[in-house]
């Protein structure tokens, strides 16, 4: 299996405080990796570093065989990295349909897009995503008028429309009902193989449903990595979560 994403000794420091501290991380093509860890472990920062939202202090990030360490956000996105934000971000004053149309980003040149009306563009793909996200009846609604769950779905839908090689999902099920969470895990399971996913999650039931391998982050470093059972029983993990019921509780 080939490695699609690799972080080598990546560090992000604010003054003396290292939020991400010499982090090493490898994800294989087609894998679904869960990134766990207590609040403040550096998970969101790691995603920010991969997607270019923040610049690393040191280290290298390689995606699809090329370094993307100091590239601009949109260039990284064009290489095939999509992300869902921890606080769901959609275009509030655009309709659901337009949100998805914007996510359809095969051509991002402004002048080319002046001659593109996009009624037909990617119609099947949009249809597919809309059904997957269950937004059929909400297409003409403004993004800002959606419920929290629907907003999560719309943003997931946008990332899917974007059709990236690597999907970075920061707490995708936060605020979802049990049923919605169930549906999300079904979709993620369907996506893996063709796409590569890195999912930050707190819901352990959800993680059990979807993860092959999990990486447990602590203080900006890898604390443990492997299948769920292995990580759960790792003495180092037990030590960090001393006094609690284990990672299930802490996460």
């Amino acid at each position: 299996m080939s490695v699609i994403l690799e972080l080598k000794d990546v560090t992000k420091a604010y003054d003396a405080f290292k939020v991400v501290d010499g982090f090493n991380f490898k994800v294989n093509q087609g894998e679904l990796r869960c990134l766990l860890g207590p609040n403040g472990a550096g998970k969101t920062t790691t995603i920010d570093l991969i997607t270019g939202r923040q610049k690393s202090t040191s280290g290298t990030i390689i995606f699809d065989g090329r370094a993307i360490t100091s590239l601009r956000e949109d260039k990284i996105a064009k290489r095939g990295v999509g992300r869902k934000f921890q606080v769901p971000a959609v275009f509030k004053e655009l309709t659901v349909r337009d949100n998805l149309r914007v996510a359809l980003n095969k051509n991002t040149d402004p002048f080319a897009n002046m001659f593109r009306f996009g009624r037909k563009e990617g119609r099947e793909r949009l249809q597919e995503v809309v059904e997957l996200a269950g937004l059929q009846d909400r297409l003409d609604e403004l993004g800002g008028n959606l419920s929290h769950g629907e907003t999560q779905w719309l943003e997931i839908g946008m990332v899917l429309t974007q059709d990236p090689k690597l999907l970075l999902m920061d707490e995708p099920t936060a605020g979802m009902t049990e049923q919605e969470t169930q549906k999300t895990s079904e979709i993620f399971n369907r996506l893996k193989g063709k796409h590569t996913l890195v999912v930050v999650e707190h819901d352990m039931a959800f993680v059990r449903e979807i993860a092959d391998v999990i990486t447990l982050m602590h203080l900006g470093k890898t604390l443990a990595e492997g299948p769920m059972e292995e990580v759960e029983n790792d003495p180092k993990v037990k030590e960090v979560y001393l006094g609690s019921e284990g990672i299930t509780d802490a996460a």
Partner: protein, 368 residues
């Protein structure tokens, strides 16, 4: 079938444009008063300026208080072009204001204006080029909101001073008043004629329809997405600074065209075109009429300027206060301006569409 607002129906919108411009086009046939036509032609220019703000601010979220830069630069270019149409290469090669400022030869920068086509090209090209460079500087640095407003305002102030100070080249405070009307393809565009009105209306109509069409394209949707959340757009692969620069330059182009038409009408250009208060007024027109509506912005411009000329004589001194109060009231109670009010009113008319596959792919707010 599902209940909808006729206001958001694309066909209804295009129809409304057709009716609106159709009615405006035949006005001279019933008026035939050259002075009124000159006045109405000026309203056309105000409408074009409001369009530029609606496009850049309403749809693109870029609050530019510097539309007067492009307007003024183009106006000076047009003033120079018309001045040189009047001059004679052999007998009278130097404009009289230059002579009084002790210039003995025509400045090099004025040379191209001997040729009307070069003059027009420069009058439009230079402001657009300037907006591209200025836009790159601002948007690469990811400036937004109040910072853009202040930068554009400061830049406008700088250009105002320049026009004022470079007396030998710009005639300073007095301004340039070309003695003859603009002549294009052998036709004299008399500022007091039906023709000048149609020229102004034609440019307004053409630009309205062009921008309307532009907003239907994917570019139109993307700039609105960037207005809502530039960060999100970036992570979808869009070069936000590039889009903003293109949009800003387009806004500059529209304002430049307004400047060209303005000097045809007024046969005069002075630093007032670069006046800071004038550029702020343009933004007020758009805000009051409805910045997220092309129609609304144009209406706002005409409404406020007509009100000024109507009320103005009696309340000249207090006009700015009236304008300020109207602005505050509208911003506070009608965030979408008059257009929002109109939207609600039209919504009362019973109107149905077929399910969700209705009229358009554009947001309701991206409507008329």
């Amino acid at each position: 079938m599902q209940r909808a607002n006729l206001y958001h129906d694309k066909r209804a919108q295009w129809g409304a444009y057709l009716v609106f411009f159709g009615i405006l086009a035949v006005i001279p046939l019933f008026m035939d008063d050259p002075f009124t036509m000159n006045q109405y032609a000026r309203y056309g220019v105000f409408g074009i300026l409001a369009l530029s703000v609606s496009l850049v601010w309403g749809y693109g979220g870029i609050l530019s208080l510097g539309q007067g830069i492009a307007f003024g630069m183009a106006a000076y270019g047009m003033g120079a072009t018309m001045q040189m149409q009047y001059q004679d290469p052999v007998n009278d090669p130097i404009p009289s204001f230059m002579l009084t400022n002790e210039l003995e030869t025509l400045p090099v920068v004025w040379e191209p204006f001997w040729h009307t086509h070069y003059g027009l090209l420069l009058a439009i090209g230079i402001p657009v080029l300037f907006f591209i460079i200025f836009g790159i500087l601002m948007f690469q640095a990811r400036l937004a909101g109040a910072f853009v407003a202040i930068m554009t305002l400061a830049m406008l102030g700088a250009w105002y001073s320049m026009a004022y100070d470079m007396q030998p080249y710009t005639a300073g405070f007095n301004g340039i008043s070309p003695p003859s009307a603009f002549v294009a393809f052998g036709v004299e565009v008399d500022p007091y004629s039906n023709l000048i009105y149609w020229v102004s209306l034609g440019v307004l109509c053409g630009l309205t329809l062009a921008i309307k069409a532009l907003l239907q394209t994917k570019f139109g949707t993307i700039i609105q997405a960037i207005r809502d959340d530039p960060e999100r757009a970036r992570f979808l692969g869009y070069n936000v600074a590039y889009y903003q620069t293109v949009l800003f330059a387009l806004g500059g182009l529209v304002a430049a065209l307004a400047g060209i038409v303005w000097v045809m009408i007024s046969q005069y250009v002075s630093p007032t075109e670069l006046d800071i208060f004038f550029s702020i007024t343009i933004v007020i027109w758009a805000a009051v009429g409805g910045r997220m509506s092309l129609f609304g912005a144009v209406f706002g411009a005409i409404f406020i300027q007509a009100a000024e000329s109507y009320v103005g004589d009696e309340f000249q001194a207090t006009w700015f206060i009236i304008l300020g109060v109207v602005f505050i009231v509208v911003v506070r109670f009608l965030p979408k301006g008059f257009a929002g009010l109109f939207e609600t009113a039209v919504g009362i008319i019973p109107f149905w569409t077929k399910g969700s596959s209705r009229t358009s792919t554009n947001a309701p707010s991206a409507g008329e």
